[in-house]
Symmetry: C2
C-alpha cells in the first residue's frame, strides 16, 4: 500500500482511525477464558465489530510476547485473519525495534515476510542503519519514533543540538527525510503537543503521522486535524484501551464497535471540513 | 545475580566473554537441518562446547522472531536449557525494546517471568519510562544502548546538547545514573572507540559495560581492558559470528569451543594483568 492508496482507504471509510490491539489476557472479558485461544477470539470479535470504522490495526507486540511462543501464535492468527478477511486494512506491528543492519534485516523479514504486516514501528537511536532494511520492501513502511507522548519523552527527544539548533526529534525527522519518501516512512508524534505537531508538519509536509493515545491521553481530534492534516489527510490516529476495553460484558464487541463509530463520525466531520471527502 | 556475583563468575571462569546466539537457520551446518528443531540443536551443541569459557549468552531476538512462533519456541527451549544445565550463566535477551510504562511492564514480564532472562537490552529514546519497569525486579538488569558500534551510530548519539555541552550518549548515561545502580543497569558501548569508552568509564565507574562486536568489528581486547576495566572487571565482551559460525562441518561445535577458548585465554591474561585473578 502506498500513501495514495492509504488515502483512498481513508476516503472510503471516512475515517483515519487505527485501533491498537493491546490485548491483555488479564483484561479481556472472562467469558472468553474458556476458549482455546482467548486473546485471538477477543481480537477477532473486536476486529469484526470495528472494521467498518477503521483503516488500520496495530497490535502492540509486548502484549503477545508476554505469553512467549503462544502469544506469537495468537499474533500470527490475528494478523492472518485480518489480511484474509479484510485485505484493504493497513497492518502495523507496534514493535519499536531498532538494531544494526544485519539484525534489522532479520526484523524486516520477520514482519514483512514471516508476518503480513504493512508497517513496523522503529526506534531511531542507532541511526539510519536501523531503518534502511525496512525501506527496501515495496509498499511497506517504517514508522519511526520522533516525538512520543509518554511522561519521559523530554529526557532526550527535546535536547537541542548545539550545532544546528534543532531538537533531537527534529534531527530524527530531518535525517530520515533524505532517506525515505512519503510512501515508505511515517513518524510517530504524540497527540498532546500541538505546537510540536505543527513543527513536524513543516519538516515533513507530505508524510503520514501516526498519532497515539487519543482517548487515553486526552488528545483532541479537532486540534490534531488543525495542526497535522495535509492534502492526503496525513494522519493515522490510534486508540486502544478506550475502544477495546470499553465494556467487559458479553456486549464487549458491540460496545467497541460503538466507541469506534463515535470516533469515526468525529473524523468524518473533520475530513469534510478539510474538503477531503464530500 | 548482582554485580559482585557476576564478578565471582568472571573470576571462576577467568573470562568475561559473552557469546551472541545470533543463530540463523540459513547459516548453521546442513547436517542439522534434518532435526526437528535445527536451531535448538545448533544452540545446544554450541553452548555445551563453549560454556566452560563464558559467563554469559546473548540470544539476538531478531534471529528467532524471523521464524515467528516457532522461533520463539526455539528461544524458550534454548534459554530453559541454559538455566537448567548451567544455572550460573548470565542470560541476556538482546531485544533492544523501548516503549512506554505499561507496555514496558509487559516486556519486563515477558523477559523476566515468561522467560528466565537475567537482563534485556533496551533503547533509551523514549526516556526513563522505558527503563524503570525493568529495574523493579531483584537481581535483574536493564542493559541500555549508549554508544553503539554500527555505521550510523553518530546520526544521533554524538549530538551535542546546547545546554549542557554533553553528547547524547553521555546524557543517556548521566540520566540513568540517577535511576539505577551498578546492580541493575549496564550500558552498551561499542568496541571501536577507545576514547569514548574512557569517557563512559568516567561517567559510570562502577557499572558493567556490554561491549559488542569483538572479532567481527576488529575490537582489540587489550585496548578495551585498558580503557574499560574496573575493580570488578566491569566488562562483558560479546562475540557471535566469529565463534558460532567459525566452522560449518560436523566439527562446528568443537571449533566454536576452540574459538571461545582462545578469547578466554586472552581474557585470562588481561584479568591477571589487572590483578583480578591470581
Amino acid at each position: 500500500m502506498n500513501a495514495q492508496q492509504l488515502f483512498e482507504q481513508i476516503r472510503a471509510k471516512r475515517s483515519f482511525l487505527c485501533i491498537g490491539l493491546d490485548s491483555d489476557i488479564a483484561r479481556i472479558p472472562e467469558l472468553l477464558l474458556t476458549k482455546e485461544d482467548p486473546v485471538f477470539e477477543f481480537n477477532k470479535a473486536i476486529i469484526d465489530a470495528t472494521v467498518k470504522y477503521v483503516v488500520a490495526y496495530k497490535p502492540n507486540l509486548a502484549f503477545y510476547e508476554h505469553r512467549g511462543a503462544a502469544g506469537w501464535n495468537t499474533l500470527y492468527k490475528t494478523v492472518s485473519y485480518i489480511k484474509k478477511m479484510y485485505p484493504d486494512i493497513f497492518l502495523i506491528a507496534d514493535a519499536k525495534r531498532g538494531d544494526i543492519a544485519n539484525t534489522a534485516r532479520m526484523y524486516a523479514d520477520a514482519f514483512f515476510k514471516t508476518f503480513p504486516f504493512d508497517a513496523v514501528t522503529l526506534s531511531p537511536y542507532m541511526g539510519h542503519d536501523t531503518v534502511e532494511p525496512f525501506l527496501r520492501y515495496n509498499d511497506k513502511w517504517a514508522i519511526l519514533l520522533a516525538l512520543t507522548s509518554n511522561g519521559s519523552f523530554d529526557d532526550f527527544q527535546m535536547i537541542k543540538n548545539a550545532d544546528t539548533g534543532r531538537l533531537l526529534f527534529e534531527e530524527v525527522i530531518a535525517k530520515m527525510m533524505n532517506l525515505s519518501t512519503e510512501n515508505n516512512m511515517m513518524f510517530v508524534v504524540g497527540a498532546t503537543r500541538w505546537e510540536m505537531l505543527a513543527k513536524v508538519r513543516k519538516l515533513a509536509p507530505e508524510h503520514f503521522l501516526l498519532v497515539p493515545g487519543v482517548g487515553e491521553q486526552g488528545g483532541s481530534l479537532a486540534e490534531m486535524a488543525k495542526h497535522g492534516m495535509n492534502k492526503r489527510c496525513g494522519l493515522l490516529v490510534n486508540s486502544a484501551r478506550s475502544i477495546i476495553y470499553v465494556d467487559r460484558s458479553m456486549r464487549f464487541a458491540e460496545a467497541a464497535g460503538a466507541a469506534a463509530r463515535n470516533l469515526q463520525q468525529e473524523m468524518e466531520s473533520l475530513l469534510k471540513e478539510a474538503n477531503l471527502v464530500d
